[in-house]
C-alpha cells in the first residue's frame, strides 16, 4: 500500500524525470435545467418512466410520514424505553460498567480512525447538494402529509356524524407546520448561500474534511442536550418518568459528552502519531517517493512499516477487547473469589506447569515411539474421565476434563514440533495460551450470574445482539478458514469430514440448530457438564456461520492459480508457510465481499435469539415494550426504531468493506 500512484502512470520509466501528468480538459457542469432535460426527460418513454418513478417514491414517502406522524403513534414508548432496549434491566448501580465498555470501544475506534483512515473530503458541490435536497425533501414532506386530526378541548379526537375523523383544513395544516417550513428553508438556504458564494470550479474542487462531518454532527447533537429541553422520559425501577420540557437526564448527558470527548481526543492522538510518522519518513526521502509528488497532499499515505508497533498493539487490543469487555459487563459483582483462588487459579497453574513439562518431554528428539504411546495413553485417560462422568462413577470438574483432553491432543501433535528448541518452545507457548483461554472462559464466560434481574440474563437488548454477533464472528472466522482448507485438502479424511459438516449444517435451518443447542443439547450432556444458555446460543451461531464462511473462503481458494502453489513449493516453503503467506492472504482478499455479506447476515440473524428465549433487541421491541402497562400494544414504533438501528450498523459495515476492498486491491491491478 505504499504506492497510491494511479495505474496509468508510467512506472516502468521511473528512472526518467516524469512531469505532472496532463490533466483532462476542464468540463464545466451542466446548468440544472439542461441536466434535468438530458437525463430525466430525454424522450417520451423515459419521461413516462421518470414520472411514474417519482409518483411511486412520493406515495411511499407520504405513507411513511403519515405513519410516523399519525396521532395513534406513541413514540414516547421508544424514548422512555431506550435504556431497556439497549441494555435491558442492567442494574442501575452497576451501570458504570456499561459506560466503561462503550468508552473503551470508542477509545480504540478513535485511535484506529486517527492512525489508519485516509479521510478524504466532501466537495462543496456534494455538500450543497445534500443541504438543498434535504431542505427540498422536508418541504415536500410537509406538503404531502395528510392534515392532522382535530382534537377538542379535552384532547379527544373529533368525529363527524358518520364517525369519521375530522381533519384540519389544508391551509391550517400548512400553517401549523411552520417549524418544518423553517427547517426546510434553513437547509435549502444554507445550500443556496454556499452555491452563490463559490463559482463552479471552486464548488467542484474545494473540499470539507469528512472528519469534520463525522465528528462534528454527533458533537452538535451531544452539545444540544445541554441546551435544548428535549424532555426527560425514562423507565427506572418500575416507574415511568415523563417530564416534557426538561433537559435530558444528567446520567445521559454526562456519559455521552465524556464519550464524545474521548472519541475526538483519541482521534487527535492517532492523527498526531500518524503525521509524526509521515514527517519522519519524509526526512529520509526515498527514491520511490519522488514521482508521487503532489499526488494528494491532503491525505498523504502512511509509509509502509511505520507505526508498526502501535498498529500491532491497537490491533491486538481490538482482538482481545470483546473477551475483556465481556468480563467488564458480565462479571458477577458477587463473584466467588474464594472459588477462583482456591480452585480455578491453582488448577490452571497446575495444568500450565505440568502440561508444559509433559509437552517438553514429548518433544525431545529421542521421544520416538515411547512418546507416541505416552500421548495415546494420555488421550485414553482423558477420554476415560468423560466416560466416568457420563456414567456418574465420579466426576472431575468439567474444566479440568476439557483441559486434560486438550493436553492429550497437544501431546499427539508433539512429534511435529520435536527436536528444534524454537519449535518446542512454540508448542509449549501455544499450550500455555490455550490453558489461559480455557480457564478464563470457564471462570468468566460460562459462569451463571447471581445478580437479580427480572429475567435469567444479566443483560439484554442491543447489547446481547452485539455480544453474540461479535463473539460469533470472531470464533467462526478461524473455524471457517480451517474448514475451507480441510475441504480443499489432499487428505481424504479431512476432505470428507469437512464436506459432510458443511453440507449438513447448510442443510439445516438456523432456527432448528439454535433450538437444538439451547433446548436439546443440555439434555444430552452428561451429568456434571453444564453450558450457559448464552454460550449454547453462541455455539449454535458459530457452527452455522462457520459453514457458510468456509464456502466463501473456498471460493477464494479456488481462485488461486496453480502457479502460486508451485512457486511457493519451489522456493522451499512448507505447506503451512505456503498456506499462511501465499494462499490465504490472496484468497481472503478475493472473498472480502461475500465474507462481509456473511458477517452482516450473522449480525441480523441474531434476532432469532428472541425465539429461543433470550431477550435480544428484537424481543425488546416486539414483546417487552408492548407488554408494559403504560404502552400496551405499542409495537410498530419499536419495530421501526430497531430496523433503523440494524440498518445503520449493517450499512456502516457494508461501506467499510467497500473501502477495505479498495485498499487491499491497491497493489494488485
Amino acid at each position: 500500500m505504499t504506492d497510491p500512484m494511479p495505474p496509468a502512470a508510467p512506472t516502468a520509466l521511473a528512472a526518467e524525470p516524469v512531469g505532472p501528468a496532463a490533466s483532462p480538459p476542464d468540463r464545466p457542469s451542466l446548468p440544472p435545467g439542461r441536466w434535468i432535460r438530458e437525463n430525466l426527460f430525454p424522450n417520451a418513454r423515459n419521461s413516462i418512466l421518470t414520472v411514474f418513478a417519482i409518483l411511486v417514491a412520493l406515495f411511499t414517502y407520504r405513507g411513511l410520514l403519515n405513519f410516523m406522524f399519525s396521532e395513534e403513534r406513541s413514540w414516547i414508548a421508544v424514548r422512555t424505553n431506550l435504556r431497556l432496549m439497549f441494555t435491558q434491566a442492567y442494574p442501575e448501580h452497576q451501570y458504570i460498567r456499561v459506560w466503561v465498555t462503550v468508552g473503551l470501544v470508542v477509545v480504540l475506534a478513535g485511535l484506529s480512525a486517527g492512525i489508519w483512515a485516509r479521510w478524504g473530503g466532501v466537495t462543496l458541490k456534494r455538500l450543497m447538494g445534500w443541504l438543498m435536497s434535504g431542505g427540498g425533501l422536508v418541504a415536500v414532506g410537509v406538503l404531502i402529509r395528510e392534515p392532522s386530526v382535530l382534537t377538542d378541548a379535552a384532547g379527544e379526537t373529533v368525529r363527524d356524524d358518520v364517525g369519521e375523523l375530522v381533519r384540519e383544513s389544508f391551509a391550517a395544516a400548512m400553517a401549523d407546520r411552520w417549524v418544518w417550513w423553517a427547517a426546510a428553508l434553513v437547509l435549502f438556504g444554507l445550500g443556496l448561500a454556499l452555491w452563490l458564494r463559490f463559482d463552479d470550479l471552486a464548488r467542484r474542487t474545494s473540499e470539507i474534511p469528512v472528519a469534520w462531518l463525522v465528528f462534528g454532527l454527533p458533537g452538535l447533537l451531544v452539545a444540544s442536550t445541554w441546551v435544548i429541553r428535549y424532555g426527560h422520559y425514562a423507565f427506572a425501577d418500575g416507574e415511568f418518568i415523563a417530564e416534557p420540557g426538561q433537559l435530558v437526564a444528567m446520567s445521559t448527558r454526562v456519559p455521552w459528552t465524556v464519550i464524545w470527548l474521548l472519541l475526538v481526543g483519541c482521534f487527535g492522538i492517532g492523527r498526531v502519531a500518524r503525521s509524526r510518522a509521515i514527517a519522519s519518513s519524509q526526512a529520509v526521502p526515498d527514491a520511490a517517493d519522488d514521482d508521487e509528488g503532489a499526488e494528494d497532499e491532503a491525505a498523504p499515505e502512511l509509509p509502509r512499516g511505520a507505526l508498526a508497533k502501535t498498529r500491532a498493539i491497537v490491533n491486538l487490543a481490538w482482538v482481545l477487547s470483546p473477551f475483556f469487555l465481556y468480563w467488564v459487563v458480565m462479571r458477577d459483582p458477587e463473584i466467588d473469589y474464594a472459588h477462583v483462588f482456591s480452585t480455578m487459579l491453582p488448577m490452571g497453574l497446575a495444568f500450565g506447569v505440568v502440561g508444559s513439562a509433559v509437552l517438553w518431554w514429548l518433544t525431545r528428539s529421542d521421544a520416538g515411539e515411547v512418546g507416541r504411546l505416552a500421548a495415546i495413553g494420555l488421550l485414553l485417560l482423558a477420554a476415560f474421565h468423560w466416560v466416568a462422568a457420563f456414567f456418574g462413577w465420579y466426576s472431575m470438574l468439567q474444566v479440568a476434563r476439557i483441559a486434560f483432553l486438550l493436553l492429550a491432543v497437544a501431546g499427539l501433535l508433539a512429534p511435529n514440533f520435536a527436536g528444534v528448541a524454537a519449535q518446542r518452545r512454540r508448542l509449549v507457548g501455544a499450550w500455555l495460551f490455550v490453558v489461559l483461554l480455557v480457564f478464563y472462559g470457564a471462570t468468566v464466560i460460562n459462569a451463571p450470574s447471581t445478580i437479580e434481574t427480572p429475567t435469567d440474563m444479566f443483560i439484554g437488548g442491543f447489547s446481547v445482539t452485539l455480544l453474540v454477533s461479535v463473539l460469533t464472528i470472531m470464533l467462526s472466522f478461524p473455524i471457517g478458514v480451517l474448514l475451507a482448507l480441510a475441504r480443499t485438502s489432499r487428505q481424504p479424511i479431512f476432505r470428507v469430514l469437512s464436506t459432510v459438516y458443511i453440507e449438513v449444517i447448510r442443510g439445516v435451518p438456523l432456527i432448528t440448530l439454535l433450538l437444538f443447542f439451547s433446548g436439546v443439547l443440555p439434555l444430552f450432556l452428561p451429568d456434571g457438564m453444564e453450558i450457559a444458555e448464552l454460550a449454547a446460543a453462541i455455539l449454535g451461531y458459530t457452527l452455522f456461520s462457520a459453514a457458510y464462511l468456509a464456502e466463501n473462503v473456498r471460493g477464494g481458494l479456488q481462485s488461486i492459480r496453480r502457479g502460486q502453489y508451485e512457486a511457493a513449493d519451489a522456493v522451499g516453503l512448507t505447506t503451512t508457510q505456503r498456506t499462511g503467506f501465499i494462499v490465504l492472504p490472496q484468497s481472503l482478499r478475493v472473498s472480502i465481499p461475500p465474507l462481509v455479506g456473511q458477517v452482516i447476515a450473522t449480525f441480523k440473524e441474531t434476532s432469532l435469539l428472541a425465539i429461543i428465549g433470550l431477550f435480544d433487541f428484537l424481543r425488546m421491541a416486539n414483546s417487552v415494550v408492548p407488554n408494559q402497562s403504560q404502552f400496551l400494544g405499542v409495537r410498530r414504533e419499536g419495530l421501526l426504531f430497531i430496523s433503523v438501528v440494524y440498518w445503520v450498523v449493517a450499512f456502516a459495515m457494508s461501506k467499510y468493506s467497500q473501502r477495505l476492498e479498495q485498499r487491499v486491491g491497491l497493489g494488485q491491478r
Binding site: T2, D569, A570, V571, G572, L573, Q586
Partner: protein, 263 residues
C-alpha cells in the same frame, strides 16, 4: 548452506553410494505417466556441477515435465532422481531439502502478486533459511542490483513489465542461494523486446559458475551459452551433444528434422 548430507540420518542417502561427487543431478531410467499417457520414458542423464545444459525439443516432448520432476513439482513413477546426493522419494523432508537447494524459474513468472518485490524475494530466505530480515533485505538488494532493477524493490509485481517480473523471479530463486537453477521456458511468455534483458541475466549467471538446466526455444542462447544440449522427443532423450556438434552435425534424423523447422 547445508550442502553436506547429514551422515547417520538413514533417510538421506549419502552421495558416495548414489553418484559421483561432482554430479549435481543424476537421472536413471526415469518414467512418468499422466494416466495412460507416458510423458517420460527411460530418461537417463547426468548434469555435472557448474555445467549449463539446455534441453530442446518440440512442444509436448516432455522437457517441462522432466525439469519439473527434478524438484518434485511432478512425481516420477519409476527410476531414480538424485539431486546433490539426495534421492527424491516421497519423504517430505528430502523434498523440502532439495527444493531449498534447487532454484526454479517459471514460464509465467509466478510472482506473489500480493507482496512487494522485496517481500517476494525475502520471504523464503527468512522463513526457510531463517535469515534475519535486515540480512535478507541486504541480500535482496544486491540481487536486484545484479538483475538490473534495484529501483523497483517497493513495487508490486503487477506494476512491472514482463521482463522485469521474470528478472525478479530469477532474483527470488537466487535468494535461496541454490546449488542448481532450473529454467522452465523463461522467455516464452515475454514480448520480443523483453527477451534479451532476461537472457542477459541468465548469461551472466552462467558465467558466474551456476549449475543450470534450461528448457527453452531460444536457439541463440543454446548455441552460445550451453555446455551441452539435450534433445528430447516424445518423452525420450534422442540426442546429447555440445552445441557445435548439435547444430552442425546432428546424428539423428529426428534432430535434423527439428532443426530444419526451427532454424
Amino acid at each position: 548452506m547445508s550442502t553436506q548430507p547429514a551422515h547417520g540420518d538413514a533417510t538421506i542417502a549419502v552421495s558416495d553410494e548414489l553418484a559421483a561427487r561432482d554430479d549435481m543431478i543424476v537421472c536413471r531410467d526415469v518414467d512418468k505417466w499422466f494416466g495412460d499417457f507416458q510423458a517420460l520414458s527411460g530418461i537417463t542423464a547426468t548434469i555435472k556441477e557448474q555445467e549449463i545444459v539446455v534441453v530442446l525439443g518440440p512442444s509436448g516432448s516432455g522437457k517441462s515435465t522432466w525439469i519439473r520432476c527434478i524438484n518434485r513439482l511432478e512425481a516420477h513413477q519409476s527410476g531414480q532422481i538424485i539431486v546433490d546426493g539426495i534421492e527424491l522419494t516421497n519423504d517430505l523432508r528430502n523434498i523440502e531439502k532439495i527444493r531449498s537447494e534447487v532454484g526454479m524459474v517459471f514460464q509465467q513468472f509466478n510472482l506473489f502478486p500480493h507482496l512487494t518485490v522485496m517481500d517476494n524475494i525475502t520471504l523464503a530466505p527468512i522463513w526457510v533459511r531463517r535469515k534475519s530480515r535486515p540480512e535478507a533485505e541486504e541480500l535482496a538488494e544486491s540481487l536486484l542490483e545484479r538483475v538490473g532493477i534495484p529501483e523497483q524493490a517497493q513495487k508490486f509485481p503487477g506494476q512491472l513489465s514482463g521482463g522485469q517480473q521474470q528478472r525478479v523471479a530469477i532474483a527470488r530463486a537466487l535468494a535461496m542461494e541454490p546449488r542448481v537453477m532450473l529454467f522452465d521456458e523463461p522467455t516464452s511468455a515475454l514480448d520480443p523486446e523483453m527477451i534479451k534483458e532476461v537472457l542477459d541475466v541468465m548469461e551472466e549467471l552462467a558465467r558466474s559458475g551456476m549449475t543450470m538446466m534450461v528448457v527453452t526455444h531460444e536457439m541463440g542462447f543454446a548455441r552460445e551459452v550451453a555446455d551441452r544440449i539435450i534433445f528430447m522427443e516424445e518423452g525420450e532423450i534422442v540426442e546429447v551433444g555440445t552445441p557445435h556438434h548439435f547444430f552442425t552435425e546432428p546424428a539423428e534424423e529426428r534432430t535434423k528434422l527439428f532443426l530444419s523447422q526451427v532454424l
